[in-house]
């Protein structure tokens, strides 16, 4: 006999009033969205876009409470650029630079005036399909603060902006960092989002970052997911691009108890293009799930997507890449590649390219592979006296080096490379 059990729903506590320090238009939005979410079913194994990941989702009532923002200074980063610290979802002005650059506004949501807050409230979520990215709706009901960046036409931020989102998990709870970037015509910037956590209590980090790119805008987005062992991370990034805009995304993620990132890019006018690079590494019993969607809405747009996973031990990595070419999107160019490296027989990788093509004159290529380290390459390296563990690490890094090399900020590239190297070397402990 099969017992049918009602799908678990979002605990009402998760929807408690948030954002009491925010301007009233945002408070109104939060309250409305919260109401709409009462009884929202949580993803289960029967939820198509969560079928491999729902079992890693471990929400408890205790996690419903927002972690208090201590207004602490995050760890100072020596990277050259501007810094904003978001601590437990709240911007910490004391720890942040708000550079005074012509044509660029960088503000916390709390500091927006009512008119700007009203405009923002109307825009939030407009880059994301919240039916496909269910958990982003929780963020829109619960954020306590956020970072708003507006680039006026032709504004150029010369140095990268680092947004350090730190979760202080010394108590159980959840945090909802939020970023909205509005990039005017021909403006340019590089934004590096860095998610980290301290403390070992179970915590949920539920993020949403959105990028709205006007004609010719050029955004480079780097996203690093580096949280600790008890932090569950469900993040979403949305981008919509108008004519000739360019969005370059580099996501690097280290596995955890639950790691989920949804990336949605809409190419809405001719000449828009995106490049999406992603690397995820997992070990032990860790999990990482990348879901991406590229909407080719308009003709003459290009997308180039390359994701690589390395799964060791008994870990589980998932890639789901959807490309949707709408019927008017003639002359679309779309390339998607997902390669996976399995470092042990106990590890699991699920990869699924999903192509929906409704235009007839398009170039669309995709490929997904799952492989192991090449024995003959390993033999070659050790036959030169190289330690087996180091040889394994070199070969694993070789699998992702090409993507890491494309991260345009040198200091980030080097840090990420060193951390990946260390992470991978750990997986060959016994070798």
């Amino acid at each position: 006999m099969v017992m049918t059990k009602a799908a678990p729903t979002l605990n009402a506590d998760f929807l408690e009033a948030a954002g009491s320090n925010l301007p009233s238009p945002l408070q109104t939005l939060l309250a409305q969205r919260g109401k709409a979410l009462v009884d929202m079913p949580l993803p289960t194994r029967r939820t198509e876009n969560w079928k491999y990941s729902s079992r890693y989702l471990q929400l408890s009532d205790a996690m419903a409470s927002a972690l208090p923002s201590g207004r602490k200074a995050g760890p100072a980063l020596a990277f050259d650029g501007y810094h904003v610290v978001i601590h437990n979802g709240v911007v910490v002005p004391e720890a942040s630079d708000f550079p005074d650059i012509d044509g660029i506004e960088i503000l916390s949501f709390a500091d927006l005036d009512d008119i700007a807050a009203q405009q923002l409230a109307e825009r939030l979520d407009n880059t994301l399909d919240s039916n496909a990215v269910q958990m982003s709706r929780l963020n829109t009901a619960r954020f306590e603060d956020g970072l708003f960046i507006r680039l006026k036409p032709n504004a150029v931020m010369e140095k990268p902006l680092f947004v350090i989102c730190e979760t202080d998990a010394h108590a159980t709870g959840s945090v909802y960092p939020r970023i909205y970037v509005e990039a005017g015509t021909n403006s340019q910037m590089t934004l590096v989002e860095e998610y980290m956590s301290t403390g070992t209590e179970p915590a949920l980090v539920n993020t949403v970052s959105e990028f709205s790119l006007a004609d010719g805008a050029n955004i480079t987005s780097v996203r690093l997911s580096l949280e600790g062992t008890n932090t569950q991370h469900i993040g979403a990034t949305g981008a919509r691009l108008l004519a000739n805009a360019r969005f370059d995304s580099h996501c690097v993620g280290f596995g955890g108890p639950l790691r989920r990132h949804d990336l949605q890019v809409r190419l809405e006018a001719a000449g828009a293009e995106c490049r999406l690079n992603g690397v995820a590494v997992t070990q032990g019993k860790q999990h990482y799930d990348n879901h991406t969607t590229i909407e080719h809405v308009a003709p003459h747009c290009n997308s180039e997507e390359t994701y690589r996973n390395i799964a060791a031990d008994e870990s589980h990595a998932i890639f789901n890449g959807r490309i949707h070419i709408h019927k008017d999107a003639q002359k679309s160019n779309a390339n998607m590649s997902n390669k996976n490296l399995l470092l042990s027989t106990g590890a699991e990788i699920d990869t699924k390219p999903e192509l929906e093509i409704y235009a007839d004159d398009v170039k669309c290529a995709h490929g997904a592979t799952i492989g192991r380290l090449d024995e003959s390459a390993l033999f070659y390296l050790v036959s030169r006296g190289i330690d087996r563990r180091e040889a394994n690490t070199l070969l694993s890094m070789a699998f992702i080096n090409e993507l890491i090399a494309q991260i345009p900020v040198e200091a980030v590239r080097e840090t990420v490379q060193a951390r990946l190297n260390q992470f991978i070397e750990q997986t060959f402990k016994g070798a």
Partner: protein, 253 residues
């Protein structure tokens, strides 16, 4: 220095080496010739520690110690170097990173300090000139997109940098044009020293004009069927293998 005694080996249940005996002393150069499929690469691979081959009988001693119980990387550090007949391409690992890691692994094993990036670059550039490779190749992936001749020169370059005690060259002369053959043979001659031995597998007498061997052996059907001085190579060139009672194909056993 290296002593191979009654070595039998098989792969996937098929016996390939059927009792090899060979003694190599420091300073000597040995050439191994023989028809295709006779087991020359198998012998080389077994010496280097390739686990695809199963040693079923016999032993290999390096300075009196059992070589076969060492892992590949340990053999390399003890001085075994194999220049592969078909070097693999390893995209994503740069030649520079690869060579530096290998050189430093050897140095550490020999109780020497690791080379700094600058010292390493100097050595790598000098050595690449010695084998006529553009130092730019150091930035490329290991053997990635190298021509056949470049791969062979890269093997010799590695031998020069790693300073093995015994260099096993598996058809390092194959596929080389006349100039490259000269470069490679000069490299091998530079390797020669009273403490170091060279074991070269070749099909061609022409290499032996550049690198004069002390001994020539004919390997056929998994056994050394004839050994002699360098004049044996000339004789083989003239008469083929037929007079030794060997068909040019591997005999069915």
């Amino acid at each position: 220095m290296l002593s191979i005694r009654n070595l039998h080996a098989s792969v996937e249940g098929k016996e390939i080496l059927k009792g090899i005996n060979l003694d190599i002393k420091p300073g000597e150069v040995h050439a191994i010739m023989g028809p295709n499929g006779s087991g020359k690469s198998t012998l080389s691979a077994i010496l280097a520690g390739n686990e695809a081959y199963e040693v079923t009988d016999g032993e290999v001693l390096l300075d009196g110690n059992n070589l076969l119980e060492l892992a590949t990387e340990e053999r390399a550090r003890e001085g075994i170097f194999l220049a592969f007949q078909y070097p693999v391409e390893i995209p994503g690992v740069s030649n520079m990173q690869f060579l530096r890691t290998a050189v430093n692994a050897m140095r550490t094993h020999r109780g020497k300090e690791e080379l700094s990036a600058v010292e390493f670059m100097k050595l790598a550039k000098e050595t690449s000139k010695q084998v006529d490779l553009d130092p730019e190749f150091l930035k490329r992936g290991v053997n990635e997109g190298f021509s056949g001749g470049e791969k062979k020169r890269n093997e010799i370059m590695q031998a020069l940098m790693l300073e093995p005690r015994i260099a096993i060259l598996d058809e390092t002369d194959s596929g080389l044009d006349i100039d490259a053959l000269k470069v490679v043979s000069d490299g091998v001659n530079a390797l020669r020293s009273p403490e170091r031995a060279v074991l070269m597998v070749t099909h061609y007498q022409r290499l032996l004009n550049h690198i004069v061997p002390d001994y020539v052996h004919v390997l056929a059907g998994g056994k050394i069927v004839k050994s002699g001085g360098r004049e044996l190579a000339l004789e083989l060139e003239e008469r083929g293998y037929g007079w030794l009672g060997i068909k040019d194909e591997v005999e069915a056993s």
